[in-house]
Each structure stands twice: as C-alpha cells, then as structure tokens.
Amino acid sequence: MRDRNDQNRSGPGFNRRDFLKGSAAAATATAMATQGSEEAAAANLKTNVFAAAAQNVTLNVNGKDHTVKVEPRVTLLHVLRNNLNLTGCKEVDERSADGADTVMIDGKTVLAGSRLAIECEGKKIRTVESLRRGEKVDEVVAGFVKHDAMQCGFCTPGFVVATRAFLDKNPKASLADIQKGLGGNICRCGTYQGITACALEISKGGK
C-alpha cells in the first residue's frame, strides 16, 4: 500500500504520530487551522457516518476485545499486525490474491487485507494464533507439521486458517473438493502436496 508507513500506530513500541507530535511543535500552529475545520466538519456528520480521522474501533479478536485508534481506511490486516502484534497473517500482495492474510470472521474466511478494520466492529475475529492453546495445537497445525506442508513458511498461517475453515465446512472433503476450495491460497515453494495430504487425512479421504 502506497501509504502503509503513514498509518496510525497506537500499539506498543515506536509510534510515529507521537514522535511527530513531540518533534514538530513548530508545525502545530499551522496545523491547527486545518484541524479546526476538520472538527467542525465532523460535528456535522450524519449518524452512522464516521469521520476520516482516527477513531476508536473495538475489535473482538480470539475472544478478547481490543480498542485501537485507527482511521477508517486502515485494513484489518494492518491492525492485527501493527496494533495488536498478531503477525500470523501476512501481507504478500495488496490485492490479497494469495490468501496469506486469511482470518475467520463469524466463522467465515475473510482476506484481512481486503477488509477495513472498522467494518469488523461487533464481529468475532479469529486468527491463526487462536489455533494454539498452550501446548495444544489444532489438528490442522499438527497435520502441516506431520506432512511437512511448508518450506519458507510465509504462506503457511493463511493456508492453515483456510484449511481449518474449509474442513469445518466440508468435513468429508475429497481431493477434488480440497483442490477447489483451497485454490485461493498460493505457496511459491509449492508445498501443495503436503497441504492436501494433511487436509485429506483429516477428512479421511472424503469417505
């Protein structure tokens, strides 16, 4: 994304906005005029309209509510990674054509890079991090390990979430079903053999 580095970060660690606030006091006077008119505009907004400026958005992720301050244009992918430090889902391609940013929202798979964070208020978001509880891992995660279904591993979290969601929906999937359903995830290393073997084992070969 062209402006990915301009986005608001309210998470722990380095905060670009705070840095700018501290070091650019001189610019504040000039900025105030603009800000004043922005606030006036915001006051006139209709109900159900959120201003373009950063605002509090509460997201339920893996069973916990998090409130972050982000602009409406910020995607769920960026909030998960930059604000909530859930770096399982990956940004590979801005058009989300690779599936590495797959999460589950209310039980359905969603490409987090193609969804605005503000759209997800009031929904239950699950990321790949939810597939592990202490030492206990989901059977899909264990299956990926067993079938050596990864090389560089970058696509793996998205593939794991998509596989989990796909098998939830198609517990008796055949090889053809799996190939069709998981076509939205791309692995440049070409580990598809191991991934389909893992899915097929869990679906017991579709029988």
Binding site: T102, L111, R115
Partner: protein, 331 residues
C-alpha cells in the same frame, strides 16, 4: 489508500442518502474483494465509503411468484447452497469456478456485477480505455487477455462480471435504486452493461449514487442450464473465456435457447445466432459444435489473443452439451 469517511446504513433509503452526499463522490462497499484493491491502488478516491452490508432488504434469496429474487448482498456461497437456486445450475457452475473459499464467502452477487475490469492497463492507472494521445495502449501492447469481440471501438478490456452470462441467459432482471431515495427501476440485466466510448461512461448504466439492490430470475419452466469457464490454472484466477447456455428441451429437441459468452468482450456477449442455430435440433456434438462456430464467427482478435477464439468456441460447445447433461466423455 487516501482517507475517507465510513458510513454504515441500515436500509436502502439511508444508503442512498449517504451515497449522494459529497456530489456522490462515494463508493459502495459490500464484500470488498474489488473495492479495497481499487482504493489501495488509488484507482478510486471516494470521500466516503458506504458499507451496505447491514441493509437487510438486500440480503438473501426469496421466491417471487414463479421466479426467484436474489438480494445483491447474497454471497457466492449462499448462491451455491440455496435449494431455491438448485435448478438454475449455471449459477452454481460459476461459484464452482471461483476456486477459493475466501472469495466464495466474501464475494457478493451485486459486487460481481459491478466488478471493474481486471485489464492490467486499467489496474495500472491508464484508465478503462487506456488511450495515450488518442492511441490505444491495449492495441499496441500486451493484449493476450483482452477482448476478441466488440473490440473495434476504444474499449478492449473484458467485462469481469462472472455471473452475468448465466444470469442474462436466464433472462434475469436487475433492480437499480437511486440516486434519490425511493427511485428504483427494474431493467433486463442485458441492458445494464455498457461498452464505453468515452472513459466517463464506465462499464454499466449505474450513475454516481446508484446501486444494484436485487436480481430477479424468471421461473425455470423446466429449462436446463450450464456455465462453462475456461480456466488457465487450478487455483483462483479469472477465466480466459466463458459461456452460459439456458435451453428449453422438448423431447430431446431444442425449443428455445439462449447463449451468452463472458470474458470475451467489454460486456457480456449475447450470441443470438448461435442460440438460434440450436432450435429444432437435438443437442449433440454436431449441433453444439456448430453453435460454438457461429458464436465466434465475427471475432476480431487482437495481436496476442487469437487463441481465445478457440477457447470461446469450445466454451459455447461445452456449455450447451453440459446443460443437456451430455458433456461427460465429449471433447
């Protein structure tokens, strides 16, 4: 992505009201599989994004007399799983071709019909017509995925609406609402699409501040249908050429037929003469093959896409055979 306001209307009139502020420099957000990419690439820069996902009247599938009305927010998954649409098989065929659980669960019918072209000139900021000093960059450039029909004007991209061939072959209507709250119009889906002569015409009749709310299918009345998509790879990708056929078979002989091709022209391409050639014939490899020949007889391929003529021809043949359950074993 540039900053924008975000709005979340609860009903159609609220949606229209919100879409028509800012001189209608606004965008409709449903599944987001196209719009978010357009915003990220700076191909669209609306002042407000109107998220219509909570508009209840635009969800779901309902009986309408003998036919069926599908809300524009209905997802691909819902279309493929609905018992009410089981007899409209060509629609399920389209969902089958979208080989990604993510897109099947996020993507909506209305979003598909409004999907902007995947033409790489357009996606790289050269505009729908990709003209430079009046010359077509597409005609001179890499046009392997571009139009083979209807491409003699400035528009050479292919329509990305994947459900359109199947829906038009069924004679579907589309309900367009806005720009004023309360104004709505049903029109044949065939008349919804536009081949632009100038950039500002866009790819459909939708004006700023308007949107699709519903699609209506007539009763099947025993007709059979299929969509055949030629896909390049196993994974998620745009088809190279598609065809949908809806056929009224009477004792093995075609009484009526409709054939519409996709991804071959700037709009869904209705092949009247090809469909006409089937009437009075039994469906077999000969009649289906002839329909394919006729469907592409007027094709004017560009430098790099003559191969698509063969693909479109075969797509028509296979859609016709498949509608009559005769594809198995045929070539």
């Amino acid at each position: 992505m540039r900053p924008f306001e975000y709005a979340r209307p609860q009903n159609e009139s609220e949606a229209l009201d919100l879409l028509n502020d800012h001189d209608a420099n606004t965008a409709v957000l449903a599944g987001g599989t196209d719009l978010i990419a357009l915003l990220q690439e700076d191909l669209q820069a609306p002042q407000r994004v109107v998220d219509i996902k909570q508009v209840e009247s635009m969800q779901g599938i309902a009986a309408d007399g003998d036919g069926v009305v599908i809300g524009a927010l209905t997802t691909l998954e819902e279309i493929s799983e609905s018992p009410m649409l089981a007899d409209y098989r060509s629609l399920g065929d389209v969902v089958d071709g979208v080989r990604a659980i993510q897109i099947q669960q996020m993507g909506t019918l209305g979003g598909d019909l409004c999907h902007l072209p995947n033409c790489w000139f357009y996606r790289n900021g050269y505009g729908l017509l990709a003209l430079e000093n009046g010359e077509s960059l597409v005609a001179a450039g890499d046009n392997r995925y571009h139009a083979i029909l209807g491409n003699q004007g400035p528009a050479k991209f292919v329509s990305a609406a994947r459900f359109a061939p199947a829906l038009i072959a069924w004679g579907a209507d589309v309900r367009v609402i806005g720009p004023d709250a309360g104004s709505s119009e049903w029109l044949p889906l065939e008349h919804f699409f536009v081949t632009p002569k100038v950039e500002s015409q866009g790819v459909s009749v939708l004006k700023p501040g308007q949107l699709i709310s519903h699609v209506r299918l007539p009763a099947t009345t025993g007709r059979v249908s299929s969509t055949y998509e030629v896909l390049q790879m196993e994974g998620l990708d745009w088809p190279l050429a598609t065809a949908a056929a809806t056929i009224d078979l009477d004792g093995g002989v075609v009484r009526e037929a409709s054939i519409v091709m996709g991804h071959v022209a700037p709009m869904p391409w209705v092949a009247h003469e090809a469909a006409q050639s089937l009437i009075g014939q039994p469906v077999d490899e000969v009649s289906a093959g002839r329909a394919g020949e006729i469907a592409v007889a007027q094709a004017t391929p560009l430098r790099d896409n003559a191969y698509k003529v063969q693909l479109a021809k075969t797509a028509v043949k296979r859609a016709v055979l498949s509608a009559a359950d005769m594809l198995e074993g045929a070539l």
